[in-house]
Amino acid sequence: MSTLLTAEYGVENIVKSFGGAKALSGVSLSVKSGEVHCIAGENGSGKSTLIKIMSGVHAPDTGLIRLGDKSFTKLSPREAVHEGVQVIFQDFSLLPNLSVAENIAIPTYISENSRFFSKSKTKEIAANALDLIGVDIDINASVTDISIASKQLIAIARATNQGVKMLFMDEPTTALTRKEIKHLFEVVEQLKERGVATIFVSHKIDEIQEICNTITILRNGEVVADGIMRDFKRDSISEAMTGLNVSETRIAPPLKKASTKVIEVRNLITKPTFLDISFSIAPGEILGITGLLGSGRTELAEAIFGQYPIDSGEVIVEGESIRLNSSPAALKAGIGYVPPDRLTQGLFLEQSILRNLVAVGVDQYQSRGKRLSKKRLAEAGEKWIKDLRIKTKNSLNPVTSLSGGNQQRVVLAKWLAMNPKLMILNGPTVGVDIGSKREILEIIRDRAQEGMGFLVVSDDIPELIQICHRVLVIKNGQISKEFNESELDEEVLYKELS
């Protein structure tokens, strides 16, 4: 395999509007082969539109796409692939019912226009592709049975096999352990040496700093800063992204001494997900729980709320033991739960903001004779839109018309309306921009000060350090370590995780 000569890939003055609203207004960027470039920006800054334009999914209104020595005013996905552009999406776009080998080899068959399929050829193609990036994965395994990190490597192998010259990686490290990230970066280094231009889309600033040579920061569809990575500091990146000076200092309120507990969880066991988990939360306390994907952190949160089976154990809310495996019992005892995926679990997407806001406590809004009081519904809607500063002109608009941060506030409001004693938040700021994230954390802080207990389950370590009084780390279904307020430190927590 010959190394490519230095070539440049990029866009010039790209403008793209969707029905009158500008998603990108005059964006230019350029990546040389053998370089790792970072695109950073909040949700809605135009990152994904840019990827879609460069990979031929969307056509730009005006502007030029340059791929090596060719320029395009309009690019089809087929042309993009032909020119060596590959995108690894967050879901990796693998076919789950097929084997590793088949997943890697199928695009090759397609590009060769081959009508026949041979098992031995498939294995050969796959083995070569994995060899090329120096990865060892069982090619006969089914894709469903392998780890997320392996899936990602397969996606990379598949891309290189198609003669990748420019590779996009969209938030590639979200679900990986530290060790796996390190391995991924080694593979990226190899691609770099082979002359691939890599574009890395991420919001994890320390990782960007580690792997990228150059950076472009987008905000509201414009380039607000670009240059060599070394010239940027952590603060200047996040400031450029948000346009605000958002600090990540701790905002957890001082914890008052309390003799009572909001909740006590004793010896929770569900084999094999978790083995003997016990902890308690005091009024006004914010307890963080973290762990890697598959450690049991999500399941623990769901189990307390009765959405994941518990084999044995005890959950005590304000001194009273509650019935296990029952969400109605949990709700009645005063437990609220914001699930991790707001699109599929939290929201009724096409329904109005108002209906979403009242979804949990619908029965509260009936007057005598089971009649639904429209007036009380509207009042409640207005109150929560105002209290949580949800940005909308009309509560009857569908909840899809809101940005991610505002949608998350709707889910939060739906549960705050029940005034729970314990609020379980599973990934409270996933897919929320930095400005909104700060405001959501402040909402949590304010409620905690009023005495609401919080259980925050998250993989976002800086966020946990910002808001929590205590953090538990879960590993293989057990609490591996507990960190007190004075022991909270990013490095230490990351170390405990991996």
Binding site: L349, A359, L372
Partner: protein
């Protein structure tokens, strides 16, 4: 000012499908009235339409309710016939040789018939809400089962010769309006109140939009679904009794084509087959449109075979229109959210 405009605007948007249907209804009416001034635009025709609309409208409302939760009830006709057969059997047995029957026995017969219908609905509720069987398969199976039991017991023979005073309900008038039509209006208002003005009704829309989110919101999604199949069975039973009263007979294989017709009506009426959206006004208007097309074709002496094609054409047209409008709406809302 702006805020008020927004409110009105979104209110209209919410009922966009109804507005669209009103235009279609008025247009259909105008065209047939103009083309066939003496036959279609006559009180005799209007009266006959007013007797024919209620049955299919009530069955369609039943289908609408299950569709709002994202399911479907294919057993409505079987339940409707079962209720009618039980009631008819009690009446004919009790009346013996006479032509009338005391009102108390008629009421008892209707109540028992309805209870049998409700029992059938309870079977659906258990299978769908409790055991999580897909509604389309569950009700296809139970519908076949109920129908099979009815055919087995009656040997497939219809029960006819119902009491005259019972027939007066289906063929009489109330304040000059055909009684079945009055009953339909009452039922439509009641169901409208239920879905728009009760908490259970609101839950129906939410469960239909996203069952998973409903589970996480602890609103008792199973209970909501169980209720819907019970209410669907209740409406089907009432439709069955009205049909028996109008035709003076009950038979296990009556109106087997009604189930498809009801689905056509519901989809034409703007109910989202995936659940979560729809209005009762839409269903009533859609029934009226289809009945007018049918009566109009009769008046113009077109072949009934072509009526079927016309019905299909209306459906295809509306579906395409819905998809096109929906696409426009989505792209607009995307641009709107980008702008804000």
């Amino acid at each position: 000012m702006n805020e008020r405009f927004n409110k009105i605007n979104s209110g209209l948007l919410a009922d966009r499908k109804v507005t669209q249907l009103m235009v279609i209804t008025a247009g259909t009416f105008a065209i047939f009235s103009l083309v066939s001034r003496d036959i279609f635009f006559s009180s005799a025709n209007f009266t006959s339409m007013a007797y024919q609309i209620p049955e299919i409208a009530i069955l369609s409302i039943a289908v609408m309710l299950s569709m709002l939760t994202g399911g479907i009830d294919l057993s409505i006709v079987a339940i409707s016939n079962a209720a009618a057969l039980v009631a008819a059997w009690i009446m004919t047995t009790k009346m013996g040789e006479s032509e009338t029957l005391s009102y108390s026995w008629i009421i008892i017969a209707c109540v028992v018939g309805t209870l049998v219908g409700l029992a059938a609905g309870a079977v659906n509720s258990i299978i769908i809400a409790r055991l999580d069987v897909t509604p389309i398969l569950a009700t296809l199976a139970t519908g076949t089962l109920f129908n099979g039991i009815a055919i087995g017991i009656t040997d497939g023979v219809s029960v006819s010769g119902l009491p005259e005073n019972f027939m007066r309900v289906g063929n009489g008038t109330f304040l000059g309006i055909p009684t079945p039509f009055v009953l339909m209006v009452v039922i439509a208002l009641a169901v409208g109140y239920f879905i728009n003005r009760t908490t259970l009704g609101l839950k129906v829309f939410l469960v239909g939009t996203n069952r998973k989110a409903a589970q996480y919101s602890v609103m008792g999604d199973r209970k909501v679904i169980a209720w819907i199949y019970l209410i669907s069975a209740l409406l089907s039973s009432l439709a069955g009794l009205i049909i028996a009263s109008r035709t003076s007979a009950a038979s296990p294989d009556f109106g087997s084509s009604y189930i498809l017709l009801a689905i056509v009506v519901v989809v034409l009426g703007g109910i989202n087959p995936n659940g979560g959206f729809g209005t009762i006004t839409g269903v009533i208007l859609a029934t009226a449109v289809l009945q007018m097309v049918s009566s109009g074709f009769n008046a113009l002496r077109f072949s009934q075979f072509f009526y079927l094609a016309a019905q299909g054409a209306v459906l295809v047209f509306v579906m395409i229109l819905n998809v096109v409008l929906e696409r426009r709406r989505v792209s607009r809302s995307i641009s709107k959210s980008l702008r804000s």
